[in-house]
């Protein structure tokens, strides 16, 4: 298959420039010098768009994190930059009230990312500070995290949509999609799966209709768009990823592209924050590799660097030396710094698997659950983990996986695990378990109990029942669980991202759709998936003549995950792209993994959720 030329790459830089301009416009909306108070979660996002210098150039004097207490400062102008949540508004309102009590005269601008929501005004009004505040919208949509990944960086989307049924974030998603199509032109083929995807698609169509531009654009730079709900495949995020990037995320946590490595990794006495993306040559080489295939590369690379330094030692002539210092030495230094960290990180990851007493069994159990064998053993393994008070979120991942793959647990087991869980971690987690149940992650097999449930519960559960698809049936139809051993070193099967045990369902769905597998098989499986499936192709507008099919851009596929995606899925699709000649681009509400997913569900009643 012919490789995609670099023309096929989308230039995400445009998005970055737009985002920066929007930020500048927002800052300039409050002229002159002002203090910035930024919601901590947004710090990294702003970092990615603009440095502190840029903020300074546009009037930021001091920068604070948004906290419960009003920042101590005398500046007469203050700009808050935050998400349009009720929580933030209350905090800001409290700041203003306490400032007033202290007799401070300050003018306030609240810049909301990505849009102003009505609720913000309502709350400010209820708190009695509406008149003191100027609202400003800062329309930051998708942020380029990498040369093929865009993210809204809205990790809270999953919970608010799937658990609370809150649709407030749909319209920012729709806007992001419309903006993308303004920059990269109308996408001719669109497929969607899931209820959120359906809503997004419908709203997008409505807006396009109003703008009068539904026709395809022959200049399109993206050939196919997939809009997919996270809900379609909840199994994948619960599994332990086995690619390097996935494991780095699960072990150290990657936030907005940045990863902070501790002293044990850096080998020095300070933490190092590293931007992990395509610009880091070493990382780019190993990010998608199976973890077992990383060390050998790093070793070879280390030798290479060493021989590079050696070369420097052997230089005798001044001219050569100068050449060496100015050209190679810098690269070598850069490489060796990056190598040190990645070697440290991979060591730490491998250590973890050996040091934790049950990590091997944990992985084995995970695999057994996926393959649907040894239910009893898996169950008692989980029980044992609970008895030992092993990490709650890791254990919950297994519990949920067990529930998802067997369409809910039998009533007795369901209760046993729950009461074990509560005995270990405390009664409050009744709320956590309730959240998991409502999201369909940890459920009881449906029996005759329906009659006992309240009306709203029946409705909720009926919804969930739809999506608790026959996991086994799908696995079988699409061969998600490979029977043969899968090559992990030079992978040719997407399942390598889970050590050859499981192929991420969404990736398979995309493969099957793109490869135009016989529609009957596709339909059979799609029927089992939650939410509606919808595919449509735009009729092309008359202008321009070249047939779209011949263009390289038709091979550019954008996959938009609604509710988050994992690095494993990204790696799998990158592999698929390399094999089948597609160029995959990713957009997501956030990058997630099993820990972040489970942690977002944990509710011990103390923190406000």
């Amino acid at each position: 298959m012919a490789a995609i030329s670099s023309e096929g790459d989308l230039d995400f830089n445009q998005l970055k420039v737009l985002a920066r301009d929007e930020l500048i416009r927002t800052l300039e909306s409050m002229p002159d010098s002002k203090d910035l108070v930024i919601e901590p979660k947004l710090m990294k996002i702003l970092d990615r768009i603009a440095g502190a210098q840029l903020l300074r150039n546009h009037g930021a004097s001091k920068i604070f994190k948004l906290e419960l207490n009003s920042p101590k400062t005398d500046s007469g102008q203050r700009m808050y930059i935050c998400r349009p949540t009720a929580e933030n508004m209350k905090v800001i309102a409290d700041h203003i009230k306490s400032d007033k009590q202290g007799g401070k005269k300050t003018s306030y601008t609240v810049a909301l990312i990505p849009k102003k929501m009505y609720i913000c005004e309502v709350i400010m009004e209820e708190e009695g500070v509406y008149g003191d505040v100027t609202f400003e919208e800062c329309k930051l949509g998708l942020i380029p995290l990498d040369n093929d990944i865009l993210s809204l960086e809205l990790p809270e989307f999953f919970k608010s949509f799937y658990l609370h049924g809150d649709q407030s974030w749909i319209s920012p998603i729709v806007n992001s999609l419309i903006n993308l199509q303004v920059i990269f032109h109308k996408i001719p083929n669109i497929s969607s799966q899931g209820r959120c995807a359906k809503m997004v698609l419908e709203m997008t169509k409505t807006i396009e209709n109003l703008q009068g531009g539904v026709l395809g654009d022959p200049d399109h730079q993206i050939g196919h768009l997939f809009l997919i709900d996270r809900e379609v495949d909840m199994v994948t995020p619960l599994c332990t990823q086995t690619t390097y990037e996935g494991l780095v995320d699960e072990t150290f946590g990657i936030n907005c592209g940045y990863c902070e490595f501790g002293k044990d990794v850096t080998g020095t006495d300070k933490n190092i924050k590293l931007l992990l993306n395509y610009e880091d040559d070493v990382f780019e080489e190993i990010r998608n590799r199976h973890i077992t295939n990383v060390f050998s590369f790093l070793k070879a690379q280390a030798q290479h660097v060493q021989s590079g330094y050696m070369k420097g030692k052997n230089i005798t002539q001044i001219g050569q030396m100068k050449d060496f210092v100015s050209n190679e030495l810098k690269d070598l230094k850069q490489q060796s710094k990056s190598l040190t960290i990645h070697i440290g990180a991979s060591e730490k990851i491998l250590q973890q698997t050996t040091n934790e007493p049950d990590s091997k069994e944990h992985l084995q159990t995970e695999h057994a659950i996926l393959e649907g064998i040894g239910y009893k053993d898996s169950f008692s393994f989980i029980e044992e983990k609970l008895d030992r008070q092993a990490s709650a979120s890791k254990t919950l991942r297994l519990m949920c996986l067990l529930s998802l793959t067997s369409n809910g647990l039998p009533s007795k087991d369901f209760k046993t695990l729950q009461s074990h869980f509560l005995q270990s971690y405390g009664y409050e987690h009744l709320l956590t378990l309730n959240n998991l149940r409502l999201c369909g992650l940890f459920t009881e097999q449906q029996s005759t109990e329906v009659s006992k449930l309240s009306m709203s519960d029946v409705q909720k559960l009926a919804d969930k029942a739809l999506k608790r698809t026959a996991f086994r049936a799908i696995c079988k139809k699409w061969n998600l669980i490979p029977k043969d051993n899968v090559q992990l070193q030079n992978p040719s099967d997407m399942s390598y991202v889970f050590s050859g045990v499981y192929t991420p369902l969404i990736c398979k769905l995309i493969e099957q759709t793109l490869m135009k597998s016989p529609s009957s098989t596709l339909e059979e499986v799609v029927k089992l998936l939650p939410g509606d499936n919808c595919t449509f192709t735009r009729t092309m507008s008359a202008k321009g003549k070249g047939s779209g099919a011949a263009k390289s851009s038709s091979k550019v596929v954008l996959v938009y995950f609604l509710g988050g995606c994992t690095f494993a899925e990204i790696a799998a699709l990158r592999l698929l792209g390399a094999m089948k000649g597609y160029k995959f681009m990713f957009a997501t509400t956030s990058i997630m993994n099993g820990n972040t997913l489970i942690d977002s569900m944990i509710d011990n009643g103390k923190g406000k959720s």
Binding site: A86, N434, G605
Partner: protein
């Protein structure tokens, strides 16, 4: 046809012409005895309004109420209504062609051109108390302005009657009688009043300041009794009691001329003809005075009314409607007898060619060969300045003829003029009756002309003009259709359905049509049903919802908002519903709209937790109610308020029970029990136990050797053996009580095997103890356990014992380089195993 110059009159260097626009309609002729009426005519060929002038005719007792008539410029009546209110001081038209009727008490009524009342405002208390003496309207920088002189000789000005903000002008000191005359001079930012007290002039502003001005006149005067400002506020004419005119710039700095009329009578009307001349109207006579003291006199047989225009003056009489204007230079150049201007030559050439087929045409063309482009341009411009289509045609034909000799002339100018003339002729037609000139149109702009057609309900013509000129749909056609529809909904005699259908069929999905605006109009007319129907066609929910709310169709509004997916809209509706409805009804509505409900719940979670409980109560969602209580109990828990915490849990338990969740009921019950235990233990043992999990509570107890209590809890909470054993060995190892641990291991058969024993010993750093337990582990697990605690040699042996080459390899891998001895040993073991295997096979 007479010669074009037949109605020209020379005045000094220039010519003026007076030409008839229309002969007035019969209806006008019957009504309009101008002596008896107050009259107001709008500029730009606008409508004319009449009302009986009670000051001129003594009111007959019990006489009929006066009638307000509205006519077009042709004299076709468009509306009339009887005036029931106080005496009318003044009539005037605004710049949007609304009729302004000013009552003597300062109340101002605005009517649209078709006689429907639009709004009312007043000119303040002073006017109300002392009545208005005199009233003037003027074109201000921001619209149409209105100025009044009250009975207390104060002046008040409103700069824009659309947004009336009353400003009191500065007062002239010692004014005890009405000023001799006054007028308003409006500049870019402000309006000033020029006031004459006898022969002393004052310029007043609204900031309380005035400026005294003195005019040096050649002949002394006693008082200025009349004044007039030109259309563009640049020129001013003053008339003195001695019959002398002063004409000059409106800032009084430049004098054009002084002119003695020798008439001491005050003129009936004093009006500028464009910016070129001032026209004074006395009985039967119009006198026009130019800037250089030139003058022309016209006789008039009957009463007339003068209307100042941007480029001239209209004279409305009972029979005819005439236009008086300076002959535009370009027209003069072409038609003046003996003119040698290129345009004139071209015009002649064209006539020779077309009418006489004479070769003289060629001669004329040759004469102006070099100036031909200029000639063509002149003919085109002159056509624009002509009113008669026949003259226009001849001029355009000449232009076209001239163009034949030019190869590189751009056609735009010619085409544009043809188009504009077609539009002008169409609106000048007596059926429309807007006698507007080309210059005026340029000044007024086309969109405004379209607006005026819309006001006159000339939908069809307006649409055709837009289409003909290819105006963008949103500015042109859609806008007109929108207005048409708004008019249509006011036809109360037609059924809702029929109107809705008619509108939809005509408007369809035309871009730029706002159905919500039409619906809004329908609602204003009291047709809620129609409004709802029309809103159905509105594609933008953001437009639908607010109106639906205004009409109290909240439920529909909510559905529409939800459909749109715009959560802000949903919120807007919900919160307004919350205020309007009773709580129960409100909650019931939410119950039927899950999307709205979720949204509102999200809001309540933050802002109004009590409401959240209400919501759940409303839908009998006991489980969620219980969850809230659990959540609350946790908060009290962290505040160490055990009593309330337990109270909360009791409520939660109750609700879980109601919600048929046996499991949660039981768990809650146990938690209450646990808390009670913990509380008592804290009291007894002076150690913190509260809010530990069962596991941790027992662990804490065992760590402090409170075995009995631990046992009690174990039984009470049915802690499984396996867990209890794990807690126990954890506690023992943490306390480094290795003897007790060993005793315990032997107390009965371990339900958890012995691997955990190895683990805990290892965890608390006692390898010897750990080593003790490995042999008790099943053979196949021993290797792993030895490896775990790092005893490689024994691991190797264990592997050898179970004859596992894989395990041996595993151990070998751990050996590394340092332990060569062991590596060798493993090598031997492996080869032995291999041998045995072979022997077995053999």
């Amino acid at each position: 046809m007479g010669h074009v110059t037949a109605d020209w009159n020379p005045m000094g260097e220039v010519y003026f012409r007076k030409s008839e626009l229309y002969s007035m309609d019969r209806k006008w002729q019957e009504v309009a005895d101008l002596k008896k009426f107050k009259i107001a005519a709008a500029p730009y060929g606008g409508p004319i309004a009449l009302i009986r002038d009670d000051s001129k005719i003594m009111q007959v007792k019990g006489g009929a109420r006066p009638i307000v008539y509205i006519f077009t410029s042709v004299g076709v009546q468009v509306a009339s209504f009887s005036w029931k209110s106080l005496r009318v001081i003044h009539l005037a038209w605004t710049n949007t062609e609304d009729l302004m009727i000013i009552q003597e008490d300062g109340t101002v009524h605005l009517y649209d051109m078709l006689g429907s009342h639009k709004k009312t405002f007043t000119m303040g208390q002073d006017a109300k108390e002392t009545k208005i003496l005199e009233c003037k309207t003027f074109r201000s920088f921001s619209g149409t302005g209105l100025a009044i002189l009250t009975g207390s000789f104060r002046l008040f000005v409103v700069n824009n009657v659309e947004e009336p903000r009353l400003r009191r002008m500065a007062e002239v000191p010692g004014i005890e009688a009405a000023p001799s005359s006054w007028c308003v001079i409006s500049s870019e930012r402000q309006s000033h009043v020029l006031l004459a007290k006898e022969n002393q002039l004052y310029l007043l502003d609204h900031g309380g300041h005035y400026q005294e001005l003195t005019l040096e006149l050649d002949t002394p005067v006693n008082a200025f009794i009349e004044m007039s400002v030109s259309f563009d506020h640049r020129f001013l004419a003053l008339f003195a009691d001695t019959g002398v005119f002063w004409v000059g710039s409106s800032d009084l700095k430049k004098k054009h001329c002084e002119f003695d009329t020798k008439s001491k009578t005050r003129p009936k009307q004093l009006t500028w003809c464009g910016g070129g001349a001032i026209v004074a109207y006395w009985e039967n006579m119009l006198v026009m005075i130019g800037p250089d003291k030139d003058w022309v006199k016209y006789n008039v047989d009957s009463d007339v009314h003068l209307v100042a225009e941007y480029d001239g003056l209209r004279i409305i009489g009972t029979q005819t409607h005439e236009m008086l204007q300076r002959v535009p230079t370009v027209v003069e150049d072409i038609f003046k007898i003996g003119s040698m201007a290129p345009g004139a030559m071209l015009y002649e050439a064209s006539r020779e060619f077309h009418e006489k087929k004479s070769e003289k045409a060629d001669e004329y063309i040759r004469m102006i060969q070099d100036q031909l482009p200029r000639a063509v341009q002149q003919c085109i411009q002159a056509a624009g300045a002509e009113y008669e289509p026949a003259t226009q045609r001849m001029l355009l034909r000449a232009a076209s003829f001239g163009k034949c000799f030019l190869s590189n002339m751009k056609p735009d100018m010619f085409v544009n003029m043809c188009q504009m003339l077609r539009v002008l002729n169409a609106v000048r037609d007596y059926r429309v009756g807007i006698p507007i000139t080309y210059e005026q149109l340029k000044h007024l702009t086309l969109p405004v002309l379209i607006d005026r057609l819309i006001l006159r309900r000339n939908w069809c013509l307006a649409v055709r003009i837009c289409k003909y000129l290819k105006l963008p749909e949103t500015e042109g056609e859609s806008r007109i259709l929108g207005h048409w529809a708004c008019y249509k909904v006011q036809q109360t005699h037609v059924a809702d359905d029929q109107i809705a259908r008619a509108i939809q069929s005509k408007l369809g999905d035309t871009p730029g049509i706002s159905y919500s605006e039409i619906a809004s109009k329908a609602w204003e007319c009291g047709r809620a049903g129609l409004a709802v129907k029309l809103l159905e066609y509105e594609p933008k929910a953001a437009e639908q919802v607010p109106l639906l709310m205004k009409m109290d169709h909240d439920d529909v509004a909510l559905s529409k908002a939800i459909e749109s997916g715009d959560t802000d809209l949903v919120f807007l509706v919900i919160l307004s519903m919350k205020d309007k409805k009773k709580l129960g009804d409100f909650l019931m509505t939410l119950r039927n709209q899950p999307v709205a409900q979720s949204l509102y719940m999200q809001y309540c979670r933050q802002q109004n937790p009590d409401m959240l409980e209400n919501l759940y109560e409303q839908v009998d969602d006991y489980l969620e109610m219980a969850n809230i209580k659990v959540s609350n109990s946790c908060v009290y828990g962290s505040e160490k308020n055990v009593k309330t915490q337990i109270d909360m849990l009791h409520v939660a338990q109750e609700n879980y029970k109601k919600g048929n969740n046996e499991f949660a009921t039981k768990m809650t019950e146990e938690q209450i029990k646990l808390l009670t235990y913990q509380r008592n233990m804290e009291a007894d043992l002076k150690q913190p136990y509260l809010n530990l999990s069962i596991h941790d509570t027992i662990l804490e107890l065992l760590l402090t050797n409170r075995t009995k209590l631990a046992e009690q809890l174990r039984k009470e909470f049915k802690v499984p053996d396996k867990r209890f054993w794990r807690i126990k060995i954890e506690a023992l190892s943490e306390n480094r009580d290795w003897i007790e641990l060993e005793k315990f291991s032997k107390s009965k058969k371990s339900p958890i095997g012995f691997e955990p024993f190895v683990e805990v010993c290892y965890k608390y750093g006692n390898l010897t103890e750990a080593n003790k337990y490995v042999p008790k582990v099943p053979a196949e697990n021993r290797v792993r356990m030895y490896l775990r605690i790092g005893v490689l040699e024994q691991a190797a042996e264990a592997a050898f014992q179970i004859k596992s080459e894989d395990d041996l390899n595993l151990v070998l891998m751990k050996c590394g380089v340092q332990n060569k001895q062991l590596a060798a040993k493993i090598g031997t073991m492996k080869s032995q195993l291999g041998k045995n295997k072979n022997t077995n096979m053999g």
